[in-house]
Every structure is written in C-alpha cells, then in structure tokens.
Amino acid sequence: MSASAPRSPFRSVLPVLSVGLAAALALSSCAGGFESSSDASSSTTGGTGGRIVAALPTDPTSMDPVKTGSLVVLSVFFNTFDQLTKITADGSLEPKLATEWTPSADMTSWDFTLREGVTFTNGEPLTADDVVFSFSSILADPTSENFGYLSSLKSVAKVDDTKVRFEMKAPFSAFPRNTSLISIVPDQAYAAMGPAAFAAAPVGSGPFKFEKIQRGVSYDLVRNDSYWGEPAKLDAISLVPVASDESRVNGVLSGSLDVAQISPAQAESVKGSGGVNVQSELSNGVVFLGVNSTAGVLKEEKVRRAIGLAIDKEAIVKTVLSGLGEPATQMLAPSVEGFADGLSDGGYNPDQAKKLLAEAGYNGESIDFEYALDGRIPLSGEVAQAIQGYLSAAGVNVNLVGADQASHTLKVRNRQLKGIYLNTWAPSTLDGDLPLTDFYEQAGNNNYAQDPKTAGLAVTQRGVDGAARLDVFKELLTYSNDKAYFIPLYVPANNFAVDKSLAWTQRADGLYDFSATGLTK
C-alpha cells in the first residue's frame, strides 16, 4: 500500500515547507530571541531592593544625551546621568553636579562650581572638561534636540578643574534651570566611542547605570553602587515603551508594569481595582486657545475677550477631565516659576460675552478652530467639542478642524493657523521663560499678535531676578489676559497608575526620577 502513492505531491511540498519553517525559526531566534534580564543581586548596600518596570509613552529615539533631549528620554537620563542642577518634584531648583552658581552683575555670564569626587561608572572622574565638552558638543550641533534649551548660551569655558563659566548672548537669569535638562557625558569615553557606540553603551554618573538596552523593548538599569549621592533604594528598573493608553492601564492592572501614565478617562476604572493606586498631580502645563489676532474678526479685541468669557472652564475640567485638573487663569501653571498669584481672566460670563460680541458688531462670521485629534492633549477631541458648544451658545460660529498631532504641530511651527487653535505648553525647566518666549517674543511660534510690549517684557524678565522678575511676569500675564492674545483653559493633572507597593513621588512634569523611590514590601 505504501507503494501505491510513490510521488504524492504532498511529499514534494514537505521539504519546501520544512525549509520555510526552519528559516523562520532561525530568523526569529538569531537577532531577536528571548533573553530574560538577569536579576540584579539584592544583597548590595543601601537599597531596600527590588526591580520595577515603568512604562514610557514612546520609544526614546536614542540614548545619546548630546543629540536627544525629548521628554521621554529625560525619564531615562534623570536616572542614569547627572545634570548640573536638579528641579525637585515641588518645582524648586537644587544643586546636583554643581554645588553653587553665581551670575555676573548683568546676568550675561554664570559661574558654576562643580562637586568634587564624582566619577562616571567607567571610573573616569567627572571634571570641568566633561561639562564643557557636553555643553559645547550641543552648541556645535544645531540639529540636537537640546539646542533649543541652550539658545541663550554663547559659549562655555573651563575656569579651573571645578569651575565652569557660561557666557550668555544676552542677560539670562533663569539659565541654571535650563542646565537641569542637560546631561553630562564623559568627554574621553564619548570622543573615543563616537555618538553611535556611546548611545549603544552609554556611560553616565547617575544613581543607576545601564545594564542592557533593547530598543523598542526595554531599557534595563541597575543601581550604581558607587554613586556620589544618596544611593538609590531600588536594585533595578526596566523602562518599557508602551504607546497605547489601554495597554499601559492593563499592564499595571495585570502586574506587567509597576507605574504608567494613564488618561484622565481611565482614572476612575483603575481606582476601583485593588492593588493599584491612581496618583494625580497638577502638571506644569497649560492647555490654552491660541488666537490668530491678526486675521478676520479676531483682530477685534472684544471678540477675543468674548471667546474667553463664553467658555465654562470649570465645567470642562469637571465633566470632560473627570475633575483631574483645574481651570487656568493665566498662561503659566501654578508650579511654574513666574506664575502670578491672584490673577483673574474674567471667569465664565456668557452674558458679558454676548454683550461684547454685539458691541464688536460680530455677525456670525465663521472662525476656524483647529486642534490635534491625538497626542499631547488627552481627550483633545472632547475638549474641542465642549468649547465649540459653549461658543455656539454665545453665538460664535466655529468650524472644527481636526488633524493629527504632527500636522498640527507643523502648522503651529509655521504660524499657519487662521482662527483659534488648541495647544499646550509644559516647560520641564518649571520656569516661565521657555513658554513665555514662545508666546510673546517676535520669533515665537504662538505669537500672532506681534505686540512690541509683550516682546519687550519677555526680554526684560531675563535681565532681572527674584521678586523683580516675578513682577515683570505678572505685568506680562495680566496684559496678555486683558488683550486676550491667548485664552488659558486649564491646567491638567498628570495621572499615573501605580502599584500599591511602590513609594514614588511624582514630578510636576510627569517625568521619572527614581533616585529616591522604593518598594514598601
């Protein structure tokens, strides 16, 4: 019987199939295969031990601190590198690699004194040369994501082994805050390895060091036991990119993740489940309506003011954001340096809005309202619709135009928006300089008004310090509200699902700093 089908077609296919199978198996095992991270030893000094897994919202582009400085990568660098200064969870500026810093009388140069006895994890001591190298490498590369943070910096030079001098292009009082975003790399190792090799095996001086980098999968860090400061409590951290909101929530609920940022819409359902806490802290950002005050009916100040008065911000926060935020009164969040206490934006007053519209002779001309459907502002679609509802109730005719985040950002960048638009600004320096420059200085992306008075005040605040600077901010923010160049909407909270055993203090900017984080059981 076996001889009855000597040339079964099935048999001639079998070898082909098996070759395909073998090839696929070989492919999936050669470059990608599974490797479980080696468990860090828990017997080392200092820590209370444990490994945690934290979600990143996107995959960081690179581990090279010279060229990358996006928010997501700072969540890695704050743990693995040192910066000259540090902004604490409550927003105050503290020493890190630098022990003190002093400006020249006119604030055009800053001297930083460096901490002694700091070494990189490769044993190289951290000196003024490394600081100069890190800053000047960024200055030499205009395509670096960090270049914009240093737009005020002219040059950097070593004074002696523990002192570095930064020369500004113009007076700049908030420069120390900007240095909190710039990670210091070892000059010799970086120069010897080159950017690509350094990004594959980065060497820092932070509380954790890199154990293993699997792009798109996991960035594994272990405690740096020779850290100069307070040693970290955790043995190890895995930072895992998880792009989808749903997956991050499910990851924490199922125990695959220990901490992850979630959307305000998910907070209620997470609260109801055991084992996981929701941590919500007011963020450092303001969600606002940008106004092209040079076009059409929006040239009229009364129309702009009417738009602000017609929107019930409190109701938007309560209903759309489930109460996770607070109405904004100005273009800075309360945690940001420069926030002016006691400022009012007129609140919600639809009658006044209608009156202003009538006075301005507004006749139902359509105003474009552009927003990004996804991306930086959670629930942006719902927020935009709510605003449209309030505006039509007041008699303002808006035309909703949604786009993806990248297209929207490009329109903002090219100042192509025609009417009003939804946008947000959250400075990781926790200082008003970056956003207010963008709102009010001549070259600012969001500056449609091009009012010389706001541009002048934005420059003035850089040359003064302390209470005098806060006064300038207050004058600027009040004037902006009066002219309704922008309509501040709300300050959203950053919301995290956190495993109950994790004791983690959340920063206002929602970035990760696990240097003082521990497990409670």
């Binding site: 296919v13 400085g69 990248a406």
Partner: protein, 305 residues
C-alpha cells in the same frame, strides 16, 4: 519557466517602484519635518536650516531623483530622529514581526486543519456549523478588541500571562492567539470545501474500494490534493497577516515592524517609512511568487507560462 520568472521579476520591480513613489509623494505632501524634530523654542532660521540640511528645500523632482538614485544604491538615508541608517532600523524589527506572524500563521493553519479533519472524519454537520459559526463569530470581532478582551481575562483577571512586551515566550501567547483565531475560519472553510470536493472524486472511491480506512484516505489521499487552494489563499493572506500584526503589536507593545512604522509615520520620519514600506512590499511580492511556484510543484495542472 525562465521567461516566466523574468516576467514576474519585472512585474515585482514595477510594483516596488510604485510603492516607493507612493511613499515618497505621500510623505512630502505632509510638509517639511524639521519643525517636529527641534525643540519648541527653536527659531525659524534653525528650522529652515535643518529642512535645508535634510534636502527639503530642493524642488520636488530633484528630491525624488536623489531619493531613487540612493535607493538603487541600497541607501534609504538616515532616520531623521535616530540618525542611523533607516533600513537597519527597519530590519532590526523584522525578527519580532516574523516571529509573531509565523507562529500565528502556523497555529491558525494547524487549528483549521484539525477542525477540517474532524469534520470530515465524523461527517458531522453539527461539528461543521459549530466550527464555522464560532470562527465567524471570532472573526467578526476586530483583532484590536479581541486582544483587549484577552488581556482583560488572561492578564488582568486571571494573572496567567503577561499583557505586553516581548520578554519571555509567555508573552507570545496572547498576541499569537489573537491573530491565529482571527485567521482560523478562513482556513477551515477553505479546507472543508476542498476536502468535500475531493470526497466525490473517483480516486477516493477507488481508495475506499481497496479497503483503506477513512482516516488513511483522508490524510494521505485527499489532503494533499485539497491543500492547493489553501496554500494559494494563505499566500495571499500573508499581506493581511502582516498588516494585522500592526494593530496587535500596538495592543501588546510588541516591538515589531508595526511599532516602528507607526512611530515613524506620526513623527514624519520619512526614511523609515520608505524603507519599511519597501520591505513589506518586498515580502509580499516574494511570498506571492513563491506561492505561484509552489502551486506548480504541487499541482502539475497549474501552468506557469
């Protein structure tokens, strides 16, 4: 045969050219990307300088000419963000996607084969309705939704399997199950129909007349002949299988081609998008050619002329 092959290769080259042109034109239509690559407070001059450095200030036909010349030389350019060769970044993700697609394909096929054989062996109409009804029900649920349900049940509620990542073989289970069960009904229908077709053929009656068992006739006589339509369909289906992994990869944070491509699209990283689309198109074209060649081998009646 050689003429046929040449013809097919020319066709494939044309397809790939169209894909490249399409990717290029669509990418350029969305504007210059430098504004997305620099920090918020970069000046207009800095943005313009970077656009210039990336070649975006040239006329469109010059950009396209340079792009094609580079692609022919095997150079897709550097990723705007990572500043590493785009093709390398894409190829780096292939193993993860292949792994997912391969196991899903295999599991879907094996499940369907078992179901089809069970239907034929028992001759039960109830069993057939059950498999096809159940499979259709599963297919009518979008993969995205089914994946979330699977996570809620097996990861969140039962705590049996990881909900995301690619850290251990266990993390393969849910994504593979999602894709495989989605493909299942297609293969069951095809195999069942093909087997039923064969059942009325003379050679089958002859085999039974020789006294062979039902199982033996089914496996060694009918199955090989019934495989052809399934094979063709499976090949054609590979495209949707690769496409389907994109959605499933997003739910499970699986570090495959889909993840790198969606990231690149949303960040306007055109070199990666172009390299990625070409790789996907290349896989699709190759598999289809392979299926055609394989069909000729399996069934001598299929002519390749």
């Amino acid at each position: 045969m050689p003429r046929y092959l040449l013809h097919r290769i020319a066709q494939a080259a044309f397809t790939l050219f169209c894909v490249l042109t399409f990717a290029f034109v669509l990418g350029r239509a969305t504007g210059k990307p430098a504004g997305l690559l620099l920090p918020d407070n970069a000046t207009a001059a800095e943005v313009d300088a970077l656009n210039g450095a990336l070649g975006f200030n040239e006329p469109l036909h010059v950009q396209f000419g340079a792009f094609l010349a580079n692609v022919l030389a095997g150079d897709f350019g550097q990723s705007y963000r990572q500043r590493e060769p785009a093709l390398d970044l894409v190829i780096e993700r292939l193993p993860a996607t292949f792994e997912l697609a391969f196991w899903s394909f295999l599991l879907g096929l094996v499940l369907a084969l078992a179901a089809a054989l069970a239907i034929q062996l028992t001759g039960s109409r109830t069993l057939r309705s059950l498999f096809i009804w159940g499979g259709s029900l599963r297919q009518s649920v979008p993969d995205f939704f089914f994946a979330l349900l699977a996570v809620l049940v097996f990861s969140v509620a039962l705590g049996l399997l990881p909900s995301l990542g690619r850290m251990s073989p266990a993390s393969l289970v849910l994504p593979v199950l999602t894709i495989a069960t989605g493909q299942f009904v297609l293969y069951v229908r095809l195999m069942d129909a093909a087997l039923s077709d064969q059942a009325s053929q003379d050679y089958v009656r002859t085999a039974f007349a020789k006294g062979q068992s039902r199982a033996r006739v089914l496996v060694s006589h009918m199955l090989p002949n019934a495989l052809l339509p399934v094979l063709t369909m499976a090949g054609l289906n590979l495209g949707s299988l690769l496409g389907g992994t994109v959605v499933v990869e997003a739910v499970f944070a699986w570090p495959g081609l889909g993840q790198v491509l969606t990231d690149a699209v949303s960040q306007r990283d055109f070199p990666i998008v172009q390299a990625g689309l070409l790789v996907v198109a290349l896989i699709f074209v190759t598999v289809n050619l392979a299926v055609d060649l394989l069909s000729a081998k399996v069934d001598p009646r299929v002519s390749l002329a």
